[in-house]
Amino acid sequence: MKKGITLAVIAALAVAVAAGTANGSSKVAARSQSVSCSSTLKIAFVAPLTGAAGFLGTEQLTWAKLAVATLAKPLGLKIQLIQGDTPVEQGAAPAQALAQKYVADKTVVGVIGPSTSGAVAASTQTYFQAGMAHISPSATRVDLTYTVNGVKEGTPAFFRVVPADNIQGPTDASYMVNTLHVKKVVVFDFQEPYSQGLSSQVETYLKAHGVTTIHLSAPNTTTDYSSYVTKVPSDADAVFFPTQQPPAAQTFAEQLVEQGKTAIMFSSDGSDAPTQYNKPGGYVSNFAPDITGIAADQAVIAQWKKANPGQSVGSFGPPTYGAVQVLLNAIHLACVADHGTLKSRADVFHNVKKVAIKQWILGGSFKWSTKTNDPLNTKFYIFKIQSDGSYKLVG
């Protein structure tokens, strides 16, 4: 009896201490999150900088650096860009670790990225719980901002400046049906979120339009696709290959030729890398047009080329510039509202959707959708790989 009372008292004390500590912690956290807007604020950039998708992150980083260098000062901000690497081959772990690291640093007020959908899914809860806005320039999986089959992986703190796959999938499928006039298509997925979502979108559209589809699933670590190519019927018109590893697309395209298959390769934005995937005759879709044709972008392109001599403007970089532009404007709005001292990161997060850009780097203007954290009125573009390996806009 005595023992029972003693234990009950100890338990009650423990609960009281915990409750008091928690309250104290939140107050401590709130105090520790405030930071002066005149001090150097940090923005984290999270993308695959190494690995098969490293080309994407390194391209995006160059544009993120340019945006910070040119846009922060006019907004009265001192910004330091810090980088985090999330190689796609290592799965969710790097994204989770980086999220923990950045939320623990009070001077990090926002995140550009993560660039890949899997990394977003792995880290968005951590960022949301810390009130950290994270704006992705390239994560396109639908359920990051939409509810799909009752599930929404993204959080209110996640935003993206590019359209979701529920636009890419139908765009690609529509092109295959209406322009390529396909009757039989082999649809791949690579047992990871990006390709599974996209292949599902494409397959649904194709079936609805009377196209015969054959679904193949390959592990993300596959290097030799010979057995898969063998399963592609000789009368297949196209293969939809939504990989995030352009060398894989190149290998598959070459092995198709090796086995005498005539199916056209159709890849998604993850394969958009002219230096690595350039087998003529194939198609690639992406969320950004070629901005070198946009008159209003010539100045920023010139600045980028000066900072990156010898490099060509790709498709992944400009949306990153846009994402940084949105985040910087959100920080500026929050600083103004908080009279020069950011009370917490959540103030930045709450100002993201107030940002509208009149002259958007991808053309036209930028506004947020009122229903989701996606941009309004966006589209995907189709490129065809030419005989010299370059990409030409065809749709």
């Binding site: 098969a52 699933s217 010979s226 399963k231 590893q245 070459e254």
Partner: protein
């Protein structure tokens, strides 16, 4: 029928690479009773050395030598580099532990494996390296070859399979028809007795590592001629090479060859006739089956202990 022929071609190509890797495992186990888990990463290093040699010789688009010579030089470069690497691994990671309990060199082998894969990633990055063999000689390695029915067998695959068989035959000759090979066989039967008979054990072991690692280097080039290589590829290929060695009979050279080809067939036919998703599952289930029902493998000898 065409599907069967195509899958058989795939099986031979894949199996040849696995057989070369498995030979390295069998050679080292036969002489040292050591499972060299770093062997897969030696294969990976070989593929990278081959890539470097290819670039040094002008690259796939405009090589400075004829294509056939380019392939020979690239393979020899990889074999030589891996042979040196094998000697270094033996000298620094295994020799000091030769008289230690058997688990010690095993752990050391795992450590070497991680060291190699992470070092390569640190030095060269995680991105894939593509030999772009399609660009060699205007795609002739893909377009030339012969047809069986409506199945085209490209020259590249013929080169892979024939080269692997030639190397296996050379190895067999070295092991069975030379003095050094005899010394290797004697050492594998009884190391102490071989030493007492005047055989330089250290030299034999080094030679074993040279042979096994050189074969891994060659396998690395043959693999990377068809698919891009990357720093983490050694783990999977090494595991499959080990599986092939066990299936064939660890320590048996003919067994390693048979095991490699069988493994390639299992993987290829499973992917082709059943499901691509589960081909690895089938392969490793076969390994488990052999470990339970025939641990000595197809051509290995049962371990007889006199009481």
């Amino acid at each position: 029928m065409d599907t069967f022929i195509q899958l058989t071609v795939d099986a031979l190509t894949l199996g040849s690479v696995y057989a070369l890797v498995a030979l390295g495992y069998s050679l080292v186990y036969g002489v040292l009773k050591l499972l060299n888990f770093a062997h897969g990463d030696v294969f990976m290093v070989g593929s990278f050395v081959g890539y470097g040699a290819l670039q040094a010789l002008g690259g796939p688009v405009s090589p400075v030598v004829p294509v056939w010579l380019l392939l020979v030089l690239v393979t020899l470069a990889a074999m030589a580099a891996c042979a040196v690497l094998g000697v270094a691994i033996e000298r620094f990671a295994y020799r000091p532990l030769r008289n230690a309990p058997r688990i010690a060199p095993l752990i050391s082998a795992l450590g070497v494996s991680f060291f190699l894969s992470n070092s390569m990633q640190l030095l060269f990055g995680a991105q894939q390296r593509d030999y772009k063999s399609y660009s060699l000689s205007g795609g002739s390695l893909y377009f030339k070859g012969f047809d069986i029915g409506s199945v085209h067998v490209p020259l590249l695959r013929i080169i892979t399979v024939v080269s692997a068989f030639v190397l296996m035959i050379v190895l067999w000759f070295l092991v069975n028809r030379t003095r050094t090979g005899k010394a290797m066989r004697a050492t594998s039967y009884d190391r102490e007795a071989a030493a007492m008979l005047g055989i330089d054990i250290d030299r034999v072991i080094v030679f074993t590592f040279v042979l096994g690692s050189a074969l891994a280097g060659a396998a690395g080039v043959m693999f990377a001629l068809r698919v891009p290589t990357f720093a983490a590829v050694g783990f999977t290929i090494g595991l499959k090479g080990f599986t092939a060695a066990v299936i064939g009979g660890i320590g048996s050279i003919p067994g390693a060859m048979v095991g490699g080809l069988l493994l390639g067939a299992a993987e290829s036919y499973t992917a082709g006739y059943w499901t691509t998703t589960w081909s690895d599952l089938v392969v490793f289930s076969i390994l488990i089956g052999f470990m339970i029902f025939r641990p000595q493998g197809l051509l290995g000898r049962a371990d007889i202990r006199k009481v």
